[in-house]
């Protein structure tokens, strides 16, 4: 079938089978490989994307369900010039990245949280990333990175 979606703020059209997951559509037909497959059963969160602004596991969404809707993947998080945004920079600075396989999903989970709740507590941050497994970091530096981004965004807003 022919899919049309608003992907990372661009209208895209692609021909692909009608019975595949959004994850497969993104990776194999749209060549956006930043979205990772870790379990294919909705348990690890490595394939997290934003669907109409909501965090979802793209392995648990049929591509057909995403048709004509807005999808943001990790490739759509950076600044227009391709450089990392503030949350991505915080992930680098606070050591939130080790093997990096969970990182795209974690960053999207962080963005989804901060859009919803700009001043989360550490517990709220932990809850917001609870569907994103990480085997390397023990999560602490990821929580640090999200917390620091929330603080710096607040400060920026205050100055604006």
């Amino acid at each position: 079938m022919k899919y049309s979606l608003l992907l990372n703020n661009q209208r895209v059209e692609v021909e692909a089978p009608g019975d595949i997951s959004l994850l497969k559509l993104l990776r194999e037909y749209l060549h956006l490989t930043g979205t990772k497959e870790g379990c294919d059963v909705g348990e690890c969160g490595a394939c997290s994307v934003l669907l109409d602004g909501k965090l979802v596991n793209s392995c648990m969404v049929l591509a057909a369900q995403a048709a004509d809707r807005e999808v943001i993947t990790i490739e759509g998080v950076c600044l227009p010039d391709g450089s990392p945004n503030d949350l991505q920079q915080a992930f680098i600075r606070y050591g939130a990245v080790q093997c990096g396989f969970c990182t795209p999903g974690m960053i999207l989970a962080g963005e989804a949280l901060l859009a919803d709740n700009p001043q989360p507590t550490r517990t709220e941050i932990r809850e917001a990333i609870a569907g994103n497994l990480c085997r390397c970091t023990g999560y602490q530096q990821i929580v640090d990175a999200i917390e620091q981004t929330s603080l710096s965004r607040k400060e920026k807003k205050g100055h604006a």
Partner: protein, 288 residues
């Protein structure tokens, strides 16, 4: 080439037409979180999926005639964030909150949880505790039945072929009621329930129990209000002793309904502790 097709319905009537086309095995698709797992092992599970998740009237959460009506395609997150549900049914809010993590709660729906009817479905004990009913549309017309009757046993419901669950509704509990839900899992998020308990209670003016409802999950093959326990509580004054008696009665009901299993040795003391605890939450003890 494709093992099934997916069609998005924009209205209930369109969904009904799509679901009832002769010669096709059709299934309604809402949050997809259960169906994707079935399709993974059996791509030929059905011929057509009818995506009902974006039909506006199936996402509504509203109050009508003293009942809260929740569209079947409302997601767990929408239910738990609804002020109406928060005011009237903390047990349901807590149950939805305990499902998976953000990703699952953003896609998974209350209706899907009920229709899939997993033995460990977190919403079922809360809904049954709230005396919730289903509203079903079939090609022959509409019908309604309590959730406790609709779900017959794990993974089995009375949803007729070609039928669509439209909504779930519960009567708004009398003022002064409290409800709660407790879940026990092997970790603090993304956990399958080992045991759940939902309870609702109300005291009369002289501090005695005027209403008591108790439902357990992941404990018995069919989920229902435990009448024997509720009777034991009614008319009594809340006390730790009473809660412990009720907790023991709850365990006796679990054993009566499901017999002894490999896990019974664990579930007996654990359910007893959880029951006593939840009763303490819905029936506040008078200040000593």
């Amino acid at each position: 080439m494709e093992s099934f097709e997916t069609i998005r319905a924009t209205s209930v009537s369109e969904a009904m037409t799509l679901l009832n086309e002769p010669g096709l095995r059709s299934r309604a698709l809402a949050g997809a979180t259960d169906i994707m797992l079935l399709l993974r092992h059996d791509p030929h599970y059905c011929d057509r999926l009818v995506d009902i998740s974006l039909i506006p009237e199936l996402r509504k959460i509203e109050e009508q005639n003293g009942r809260v009506i929740i569209g079947a395609a409302a997601t767990f997150n929408e239910v738990m964030e609804s002020p109406l549900v928060q005011q009237t049914a903390p047990a349901l809010v807590q149950a939805c909150h305990s499902v998976g993590a953000v990703q699952i709660r953003n896609m998974g729906t209350l209706g899907g949880n009920v229709v899939n009817a997993a033995a460990c479905a977190d919403s079922l004990p809360a809904l049954i505790c709230l005396d919730a009913s289903t509203s079903i549309l079939t090609p022959a017309g509409g019908q309604s039945m309590p959730v406790s009757r609709f779900v017959t046993r794990p993974n089995h419901t009375l949803l007729p072929s070609g039928g669509l669950l439209l909504s779930l509704s519960y009567p708004i509990p009398a003022s002064g009621s409290r409800s709660a839900f407790l879940k026990l899992g092997r970790r603090n998020a993304m956990a399958i329930s080992r045991l759940t308990v939902a309870a609702l209670g109300r005291l009369n003016d002289d501090g005695r129990i005027a209403e008591a409802r108790l439902v357990t999950g992941s404990a018995t093959p069919s989920i229902e209000r435990l009448a024997a326990v509720e009777e034991l509580l009614l008319g009594e004054a809340p006390s730790d002793l009473l809660f412990n008696l009720a907790a023991r009665a709850t365990v006796a009901e679990m054993l009566r309904l499901s017999g002894r299993r490999w896990s019974s040795e664990y579930k007996i003391p654990a359910l007893e502790a959880m029951t006593a605890r939840i009763l303490g939450q819905v029936f506040p003890l008078a200040a000593a």
